[in-house]
């Protein structure tokens, strides 16, 4: 049935430009793997190479223990869903879904049964006789998915499948795809630049940047334990703090950020701190934590409400130009208002040395 996708050291050059550089990962059997990265990171090119729509310069691709690399597109039996649907505009919904069965010369009765089954699955039974331009974007993408699934592909490749849809439809379709995947269990590879989409849908996330893999891990690992400055800055929002390493801390002005024990003393470093990891307390408690971390003082410049959370912009005292963004539960504000001096405490900072951190700027 379902098989894992194994990608080994893929490299793709367009002229002198290296679009994909030495990319390796495994998309586990029956799971959704997200290829996450900004535009131009090479993630779509990787997907197209797996489908056979682009030819890699180096590297190999496997479906389970079958090597795909020497096979043509039509022999690969992958389902592909395009960002702009790519429905055959001169065919009805039924003919679109039937296409992959018709070119494989299946009997008419088998085809009819399979198409009916898929139209049911994507809730489009009543739209079978419509043409693509008589459907909404969400409906079109459901047709595209049914069409890709019809020939029972071993893997499903989705190239920014929700990218052309508006926010509300995107949310609905995402939830629906999640349910569908639980039902079918087909190995899926989803290309997206939307981290929320990747973190919500995927069992495994491959973060790509400038043609190379930055980190592979579960959504939790990617979010909580970024291993590169790029991942720390790209996935989720983060305060980016530039300072100098002193005694295992990153120093900027009065602020000492822990977690820099692995960095060279005196080196320039950057620490990433998520807004919900910034905690504030009233000015009076400006002391030392048990672990010796000095808290810094900052002035609250602005407070805006995000429902149960408050978003604070804090300018650090003596920290030069540094401002922090903090997300604090409303009930932990302790009556702080704009203009107040508060003491700031940073949790779970991720420090990288400056050379590394520069790479993504």
């Amino acid at each position: 049935m379902s098989t894992p996708i194994v990608v080994e050291q893929l490299t793709k050059r367009f002229g002198s430009f290296e679009a994909v550089r030495d990319v390796s990962f495994t998309a586990p059997r029956g799971a959704i793997t997200a290829l996450l990265g900004p535009s131009g990171s090479g993630k779509s090119t990787v997907l197209r190479m797996i489908a056979g729509l682009e030819t890699p310069n180096e590297g190999r691709i496997w479906l389970g223990d079958v090597e795909l690399t020497p096979k043509s597109v039509q022999e690969r039996r992958v389902g592909f869903v395009f960002q702009h649907y790519a429905l055959f505009r001169h065919m009805t919904v039924r003919q679109n879904v039937e296409f992959g069965l018709a070119v494989r010369k299946q009997s008419k009765s088998d085809r009819m049964a399979r198409v009916d089954e898929l139209l049911e699955l994507v809730h489009l039974t009543h739209f079978a006789k419509r043409y693509p331009d008589q459907l909404s974007g969400g409906q079109r993408q459901r047709v595209a998915l049914a069409r890709a699934l019809a020939p029972r592909p071993e893997v499903l490749l989705l190239d920014e499948p929700f990218g052309a849809l508006d926010a509300k439809v995107r949310q609905d379709l995402r939830r629906w795809l999640d349910e569908l995947h639980r039902e079918l269990g087909v190995t899926s590879l989803l290309v997206t630049h939307d981290q929320e989409e990747a973190l919500e849908l995927a069992n495994q996330v491959v973060v790509m940047h400038e043609g190379a893999v930055e980190q592979v891990g579960s959504p939790g690992e990617i979010y909580d334990d970024p291993t590169t400055p790029f991942v720390a800055g790209f996935v989720g929002s983060a305060n980016v703090l530039h300072g100098v390493v002193e005694g295992g801390h990153v120093h900027l002005g009065a602020l000492r950020v822990p977690g820099a024990e692995h960095l060279t003393e005196g080196a320039a470093a950057t620490a990433y701190v998520r807004p919900h990891d910034v905690r504030i307390s009233p000015k009076g408690s400006n002391g030392h934590d048990p672990d010796g971390t000095a808290r810094a003082l900052g002035r609250v410049e602005r407070i805006s409400s995000l429902g149960w959370l408050a978003r604070l912009t804090i300018r650090l005292d003596g920290g030069g130009e540094h401002t922090l963004v903090a997300h604090v539960p409303q009930n932990e504000l302790d009556g702080a208002t704009e203009g107040d001096l508060v003491s700031v405490d940073l949790r779970n900072p991720k420090a990288f040395d400056h050379g590394e951190a520069r790479a993504e700027e």
Binding site: V73, F82, A86, F88, H90, A144, R147, A148
Partner: protein, 286 residues
């Protein structure tokens, strides 16, 4: 129902003069198109039909006339076949493939638009005529190119090359590559993809190109005149028949043949307009 207009209501003060100006422009356009385009057509229709149906019947019975139409038909059919086949392939290559020299190929395709047909005819004479570069090759094999059908077909194809390509290229660009890619991932071979996806998508653009090619092939005279040698009953196309008939003061015959060509052109014009509506209609819908 009144439709909103950019031109101010004529009943308002000052509108009277504007209406006069507008009326003047419209009248000028109608006169321009009417006098320059329609009057000659009316002239041909009147003159051709004036001698009566017996004369028309008589003209179409002339062996020279019949042969002239036959020749025009053969040249046009071969030209359509060649320019459609290679035109679609060339258009596809120009849009979908990356290769060195692509922009040069793109520019060269338009060459026949820029060249006078007479120049094209002369070029054919240089290649295939007495003492021409390729003459010894064909002479040795007993194949007559110049002053015969092959050269007439060749120059007509040359002149008609751009039409199909120029109509199909924008359609291919507009539909993009995704549908072809989708067909391939669904297991279609290159030929199946071409037949079931690419061709249906470009058919109206292609039809438009073929209609333009047909009109041009039927009406071509300059290049064909140079390479044909004007051998009566042998290398005389319909347009060349008109040309010689006028010199021989066979006016009635010339008008009747001309009217027939005009009638074909009008059918083509309707085809072209229909095709264009279909192409543009789809652009609006998607």
């Amino acid at each position: 129902m009144r439709t909103p207009s950019l031109i101010p209501d004529a009943s308002l003060p000052g509108g009277g003069r504007r209406r006069l100006v507008r009326g003047g422009i419209v009248t000028a356009c109608i006169l321009y198109v009417g006098v320059l385009l329609l009057l000659p057509l009316v002239g041909i229709i009147y003159t051709a039909l004036e001698p009566g149906l017996a004369k028309i019947w008589e003209t179409f019975s002339l062996p020279d006339v019949r042969h002239a139409f036959y020749l025009t038909g053969v040249i046009t059919v071969v030209t359509i076949a060649v320019t459609t086949f290679f035109g679609v392939i060339t258009a596809w290559v120009l849009v979908r493939q990356r290769f060195p020299g692509k922009s040069l190929l793109n520019a060269v395709v338009d060459l026949p638009f820029a060249l006078s047909p007479v120049t094209v005819g002369l070029a054919a004479v240089i290649l295939f005529g007495a003492g021409g570069w390729l003459e010894p090759f064909f002479q040795a094999r007993g194949i007559q190119i110049i002053f015969a059908l092959p050269s007439m077909v060749l120059v007509t194809i040359f002149i008609c090359i751009p039409f199909t390509i120029r109509e199909v290229v924008p359609v291919l660009e507009e539909i993009g590559k995704d549908e072809e890619d989708a067909a391939r991932t669904l297991g279609a071979s290159i030929m199946q993809t071409w037949r079931k996806v690419t061709m249906p998508n470009i058919r109206w653009g292609l039809l438009y190109g073929i209609a333009l090619t047909t009109a041009r092939a039927i009406g071509e005279i300059g290049a064909v005149l140079i390479v044909s040698g004007l051998i009566k009953g042998q290398t005389e196309t319909a347009t060349l028949f008109i040309f010689t008939a006028i010199e021989e003061r066979l006016y009635a015959e010339a008008y009747i043949v001309a009217l027939t060509l005009a009638a074909v052109s009008i059918v083509l014009l309707i085809t072209i307009e229909t095709a264009r509506h279909r192409i543009e209609g789809r652009k609006v819908r998607t």
